[in-house]
């Protein structure tokens, strides 16, 4: 067990080093960042000074050491556009994204569980058809388009909700709804299919023979086991959270990480892009480790495998 965990953590650490090197190379490959700051009137001395200030006069290996030691201390460099530490900008933006992401995650999870179980328990019923329809449409319609259409309907036409921005509780409805739209179809499909597999199992038949109530069979016996499968897809859920956050924040002008990232990309503000990429990659890896370990606790087959 502990051997398994150590191996997983080592692997994640290797992956993190890989991503660090990749980010370092990609950012340097994008060209000299001083070109973004200098004006036509800058003298060669000013340019040289700027390079020194940004640490670009050193060799690549030296720059890499500076880069990594900065990462370890939580320093990602200063934003080229805003001239303040990238870490500070992230600190301001991250809570706003969490405020959207957490409610969206829990709402999507509750809906996915309820609807997924309902569809599996009443297979081929009208409920199942409805759930399938939601899943099919959810995976085909572009989330950004659905969000804009919702904005058109609820904010512009019916005037029920504010168009964009952050502030009151009403400001949360459309952005959170959009994030749920990104998360729900995949999660719901997973719950449904893994529930169907479990309901086919021998021990569920045994429970039926024992005469347990259908509700008890589904919610107590089947659901527990059905949840193990979707647990492993944490990576997928995390990826759709990121995608959802980026698109939602752009559409609703929400001052979070996604908007910060897209603004930094458009302005080629590479220290900020670099900082967000590293942070998200680290969070992603961390989450995968937690899930792997949780999974190993639940499933003895993994705990005892030789790896």
């Amino acid at each position: 067990m502990s051997r398994y965990i150590v191996i997983r953590i080592l692997q994640a650490f290797l992956a993190l080093i890989g991503i660090t090197v990749l980010v370092f190379i990609l950012v340097r490959a994008s060209g000299d960042p001083t070109h973004l700051i200098i004006t036509p009137t800058s003298t060669p001395e000013e340019i040289a000074n700027l390079k020194k200030q940004l640490g670009l006069d050193k060799s690549y290996p030296e720059q890499f050491v500076v880069f990594v030691s900065g990462l370890v201390r939580g320093e990602f460099g200063d934003s080229i556009i805003k001239r303040k530490p990238a870490a500070e900008m992230i600190k301001e933006a991250l809570p706003n994204t969490i405020k959207l992401g957490l409610p969206a995650f829990f709402i999507a999870m509750a809906l996915a569980l309820g609807l997924g179980v309902l569809a599996a328990a009443r297979r081929d019923s009208i409920y199942d058809a409805g759930v399938k329809l939601i899943a099919v449409l959810g995976q085909a319609l572009p989330g950004f388009w659905v969000a804009i259409m919702a904005m058109l309907l609820f904010s512009v036409r019916l005037r029920l909700l504010p168009v964009a921005g952050a502030g009151t509780l009403k400001h949360y409805v459309l952005p959170v709804g959009t994030m749920v739209f990104f998360l729900l179809p995949g999660m719901m499909r997973l719950v449904r299919s893994s529930m169907l597999d479990v309901l086919d199992a021998e021990y569920i038949r045994l429970a039926r023979i024992k005469g347990l109530s259908e509700a008890k069979i589904i919610w107590k016996h089947a659901l527990r086991n059905a949840l193990i499968g979707p647990l492993t897809t944490a990576g997928m859920i995390f990826a759709s959270l990121i995608t959802g956050a980026v698109i939602t924040e752009i559409i609703f002008n929400w001052p979070g990480m996604g908007r910060l990232l897209v603004e930094a990309v458009t302005a080629r503000d590479f220290p900020v892009v670099q900082a967000i990429t590293m942070l998200v990659a680290a969070m992603d890896l961390g989450m995968n480790i937690v899930v792997d370990i949780a999974y190993a606790f639940v499933d003895p087959q993994i705990r005892h495998q030789k790896s």
Partner: protein
């Protein structure tokens, strides 16, 4: 995973009547013919865009901006689906936009499917350290959020056709590799592969001549299922301004352009989004249909 259930329908199987009328056959397979029709139309539109489009997709006409579609009050027959902020014809832009969606998707599929297939077969057939290394790379790239990488690449190389293709390809090969490896593992110990080995065939020859032909079905299914996802991803990148740059009329970018005038001109955003949805839906349905016909074992995908 497939299990035959004894139901009323399977219990008393009667021999099927000789031949059913053609229209019944078409109706029963509507989830095949309808998506096929939509996708054929898409290819046709993309190929003959310059003949089909009534206007130049980038021609600006400031006097005729924000015109509503022809069926609304104030619309003209000249611009069937209306015009945008610069007076450009929405219909023509959508027709030309099909070229971008289709060419990006095809390029990405060509790259990811070939890389993934080679890696999957090599990993599955050779095994050992090669397999371990390749599969670890696969795991890592499947865990990385694709949106993040696409944005990172856009800042590095600047937006453009090949940046989009690269961004979607860099992570996109991993699912192919994983699937193909699984298929190869099953074939590795079959009699015909053992026979080939006894006959002295090289590893390369076995992989190309004996294993590859047997995984083509799975490959076709996965490729078809990827079409919808890729069109959606390309649209999302364009929407964020890191797709094929304007003035090229990409569907995702058109939806974004309509955002600022959504209170006055809903048609700019609405129509391209509907087309994206329709095409993705068709791709997904066709993929499901092919999977059930060619390779029902992949049902869980």
């Amino acid at each position: 995973m497939m299990r035959v259930q004894i139901t009323k329908r399977t219990a008393n199987v009667r021999p099927r009547k000789k031949s059913r009328p053609r229209h019944i056959h078409v109706l029963k397979n509507l989830t095949f013919y309808l998506p096929l029709l939509v996708l054929t139309l898409l290819v046709f539109t993309a190929v003959f865009a310059d003949v089909l489009a009534p206007h130049d997709p980038v021609a600006v006409s400031m006097q005729e901006r924000l015109l509503p579609p022809a069926f609304m009050e104030g619309g003209t027959k000249k611009y069937l689906l209306g015009t945008d902020q610069l007076g450009r014809d929405i219909l023509s832009r959508m027709i030309y936009g099909s070229r971008i969606s289709l060419s990006v998707s095809l390029a990405v599929i060509a790259i990811t499917a070939s890389v993934g297939t080679v890696m999957g077969i090599v990993a599955g057939y050779l095994g050992g350290a090669t397999e371990a290394l390749l599969m670890r790379i696969t795991d890592i790239s499947m865990a990385f959020p694709p949106m993040l990488l696409a944005l990172l690449l856009a800042v590095v190389f600047g937006p453009g056709f090949w940046t989009v293709v690269l961004a979607l390809s860099i992570l996109g090969w991993a699912p192919y590799a994983r699937l193909i490896r699984g298929e190869t593992l099953k074939l590795r110990y079959t009699d015909f592969v053992a026979q080939a080995r006894i006959n002295g065939a090289s590893s390369l020859r076995i992989m190309v001549k004996h294993i590859f032909p047997n995984i083509v079905n799975s490959l076709i299914v996965v490729i078809t299922m990827a079409v919808g996802m890729l069109i959606l991803a390309e649209a999302a990148l364009s929407f964020l301004g890191v797709g094929v740059p304007p003035p090229a009329p990409s569907w995702g970018y058109m939806v974004n352009e309509g955002r600022s005038v959504i209170d006055r001109a809903w048609w700019i955003s609405a129509f391209p989004g509907i087309v994206i949805g329709l095409v993705v839906l068709s791709g997904n349905f066709l993929g499901d249909w092919l999977r059930d016909k060619l390779d029902p074992r992949l049902r869980q995908l």
